[in-house]
Symmetry: D2
Subunit: 341 residues, 4 copies
């Protein structure tokens, strides 16, 4: 039975507590948060766990095997460092840290202490992303040309991170996973419409260039009243659309079908030409992704499986975000990406 401590129970933490607690071979024994009201609320739901406003009592608790860090991103590095130095396994939310140097430091520390360091890139554990990966790897889509992502809604305006750091980690992580590669160049344009005085971007467009000419384009925004979570993967044989907001039809695979004829005598014929191939909507498991993710962490700690969202995976994401933000500052000038680690 893995004893787990959780630091942070604001927006995302309660979901992690609930899922780790629901596993047969794990148990959340302590929960820390600076906000006593949140702590009291979570205490009602999980009466068995110890509650504290001092996270160090968790870090230093010898009965605790692993610590989940679900706090604001600026604290990921200092808290993660404390956890690893105390010899505990670390599950840290995305983005892994606010700089690639900090990411490298955590990776290095975990190696030296021989502890598991997993980054909470949840989407890698969703049935939808797994299905897309399987469809790509099986050749079903043919050669994959490009990926186009929209991740927009009326978001909470963060004070300590722009929209790129808030939303793009999901998509960079997903595309790196799908392509099995890291981008070699990124360009980005962003704007600070609402928090103009703070200089915090609330909308951005990123273009990532991958090896072999592949592209990924990512549009993130906190300004859109309609929530969209759309990922399109275009291949030489088929195309796939992943709509994460759709309850029942998350993935649609579009076949190419026959070509369209070039001449139309009237508006009606012209209007008829909407699509030319079959569409297939596969059934997906309805498992909660966080449960899969939590179980994966427990299994990795137990040596049963190999870690998927490693520290290096988390680092690569942060490196892309860093260079994307540099491109924004330079009015869209492309930035190269090199990975000496």
């Amino acid at each position: 039975m893995l004893k787990v401590g959780v630091i942070g129970c604001g927006y995302w933490g309660p979901n992690l507590i609930r899922n780790f607690n629901g596993l047969p071979d794990a148990e959340v024994t302590a929960i820390a948060d600076l906000d006593e009201k949140r702590l009291a609320h979570v205490g009602l739901l999980y009466p068995g766990a110890r509650k504290t406003t001092d996270h160090l009592t968790i870090v230093q608790d010898p009965t605790i095997d692993a610590v989940v860090v679900a706090t604001p991103m600026s604290t990921h590095y200092p808290l993660g460092r404390q956890v690893l130095e105390a010899g505990k396994h670390l599950f840290v939310e995305k983005p892994m840290a606010t700089t690639s140097d900090d990411c490298r430091a955590l990776i290095d520390l975990a190696r030296r202490r021989d502890r598991v360091l997993m980054v909470g890139h949840t989407f890698i554990y969703t049935p939808a992303v797994r299905k897309i990966k399987a469809l790509i790897d099986s050749g079903e889509l043919g050669d994959v040309y490009y990926v186009n992502v929209q991740r927009v809604n009326l978001g909470i305006f963060q004070k300590d991170a722009n929209v790129v750091w808030d939303l793009a980690p999901h998509d960079v992580s997903i595309v790196n996973y799908l392509f099995g590669a890291d981008p070699v160049r990124v360009s980005a344009t962003g704007r600070c419409y609402v928090q103009h005085d703070l200089g915090i971007e609330d909308v951005a467009f990123l273009t990532l260039e991958y090896p072999e000419g592949r592209l990924a384009h990512i549009h993130v925004s906190w300004l859109d009243p309609n929530k969209i979570r759309n990922t399109t993967v275009v291949g030489s044989r088929k195309m796939l659309v992943y709509d994460d907001v759709s309850p029942a039809e998350k993935i649609r695979v579009y076949d190419k079908g026959v070509d369209v004829q070039p001449h139309y005598d009237n508006f009606g014929e012209f209007q008829l030409l909407y699509r030319s191939g079959d569409v297939f909507i596969p059934r997906l498991d309805t498992v909660e992704p966080l449960r899969v993710e939590a179980q994966h962490f427990v299994d990795v700690v137990a040596g049963k499986t190999e870690l998927m969202t490693t520290g290096v995976h988390g680092l690569r994401v942060v490196q892309v975000l860093e260079q994307a933000c540099r491109s924004i500052k330079e009015d869209g000038r492309p930035q190269d990406l090199a990975y000496a680690l």
Copy 2:
């Protein structure tokens, strides 16, 4: 009764012939095309019009008042020049020409000869785009922040133009019209996946910067098996989505509504938070846009109204396309846009 000659009856020409012919105060009296088979086919539909493979017999026909040029883009300039030099009014399809210098030459010629020069940017004449313009101008959306466009489908791979020249003219024209302004900078990334050897881009992402910090992002592609024609306009008060493929719900206006609360105890609550405001779907007229456009041309020639899609409008579009393609060649480096005319 305006006597109209039409040069080119391939993909788009027949639609123009049908609409000009259906006007009460215009008549298509001559049609030219190099392809005798197309000419014979169109002849069956319009037995009253003269058919010819020599377009010069139209240009030089003294009974013809105006000529419609609906040929491949590389011929727009030489044909347009002949028409204007012959003292006839000119309706030329978009893009107006393949270089901004050629556009300027046509504008200059039309001024000197005092003839109407209209560019066929059809979307400016659609009920949907007119409605969006009205919603923006009325302040309904608040300050408009940015526009995001997807114009993708399984297209006909052109041999004499890339996807930017083929599809983006629509969107640059629309956004310039909506913003009442021209972009000051453009960056773009493109790829030649299918026609790699010819070096013709089949997918591209364009970012246009407008005055006052406004952005427009345009994604064009010939590679997507699912046809998408989506334009999102995000403002400080509301957001609007224009789906040109939807038969009955082309425009949706999303209100902002209340803010979302930041804490969720379970996956269900989290899943519930899809949208926070009302949605309004206005009824649109079902008029055929080409008919409005054709009537507009006839009215302008008759001095009844002021020209909307002028030569300068067409030139501005071509200038953006030129610089976007330069940016693609320079791996996405942003290109400034200046308009001395």
Copy 3:
């Protein structure tokens, strides 16, 4: 070359004229209508055809081989009778006539004169209905249990027919074709909301019982501001939804998939359970159904193929409508259907 005369060019007639005229082996040589304005309008589009307000000049024209009757339903029988008695082939719109006795008289007359009598049940010639028939016959859906139809929109309120006679002919024809059988009993409930004083039903619900326990339920209405044309076919293996209003996804085939588990601990899990199987959306041909229908008539006259929508098919539809209306008058009491012919 089949010489065709068309009587009636109001709502539907022009579509028939255009399609018959577009066939390589047919030609509309004469058009009749009582409304001179409609006649003049159609004359502009088809200058080669003779126009007349006296349909008898078509019926008696020895150069005409076949006559299309596209007039109000109350005139189908007298006009059809004249056409057949004049020894011409007859294409008559649905419903075939206003009573089953009149239908029988036309069938009898056509047999005696050895002329083709085809009823214009267009849907039998659509790619969608053909595809559904193929899916049923192949066993793809398993045993077909029932069909449920909604055919509603803001309709034109007829003065000479209720909504059952106006809209249900389509669906009775379709279901009879899909099941390869005729119903044995019908019950129906209807209401006259808008034309209450005229006693003309504008909404009705019909339940048809077919052999082997199969059911068809049909909802027709002129009152619904949103146009719906939905046909659901539920079988033991799969289910199919045919949405005739959808431009690109007319047919969706739903697989059964796995069963759902009966216990849920929270609202989120409960909400997740929307669907349990794959969905398949086959590509359909974009041919215009009326063209297929017109070509079928010409081919039948030429002896090239066997007639699909025969007089008996049209009669069966009328018999069901008659008994459905009787059930409405008797407050929903079921009415048996027997077919001695």
Copy 4:
């Protein structure tokens, strides 16, 4: 603080436990179920409540104020009777009982003991149904003509109830509430496709006639692989569609708009005519309906508000179901409904 006992924690009970437990002025202190495994599972989630397989220990517990009965419908009456006789308030799931006589006995008992008797018709407590009621009562829809309901999916095949008793209680309850009236006649057709040998209907079509000529039509099925929960309300001014499966757009209000013109010259014009008015999609609260329902029960017990889903409301629903099933047995013959209580 209201002390609540819950009998039954199978499919629906856990949702009731969770919601009653989450109220500030109620507490679930005891839970009964015959299945020890379910009991153990729920015990983990609610460690503070007493668990028992003998429901009588709840009924007879003097510290318990109110009992929630969420067991199979055949036990609603005997259990409800015991609860009321023990002098406790009763919340009983729908359908209230298996016969109208049993419903009347419970109503009578509750009156004599002066206890609250509430039936769990949850939909009356949803934001969507409340919104529809408000739209109808405000006159927004004009005179309401009819309601059409589809409630179908791949259901769990019950052994002790047919699809009418399983699913139609929701809709009869909703329509009675919306119309503020009870139906005067019902006809129904049903079929036992899958459980043919048991004679348990798995699909049915019900037609309910209300005062003033209003209609409600209800289609229920366990056989449809695609889940549909659609309620259409058609009025003289507007129409409303309530799609309970849609996460973000549950209610759409369709305006009538202008009439369509009756003549079309080509297929394109014809295809364009999909809809003629504006559409409005109001924002709805995202509150969980069961929480509202649970709070309502607690408030009624505390005398703070008037009971909405009374025993009589539950009885009226059962009376309709009884007569609908009689109509099914008599091949669709309409059955009158009289309400002497």
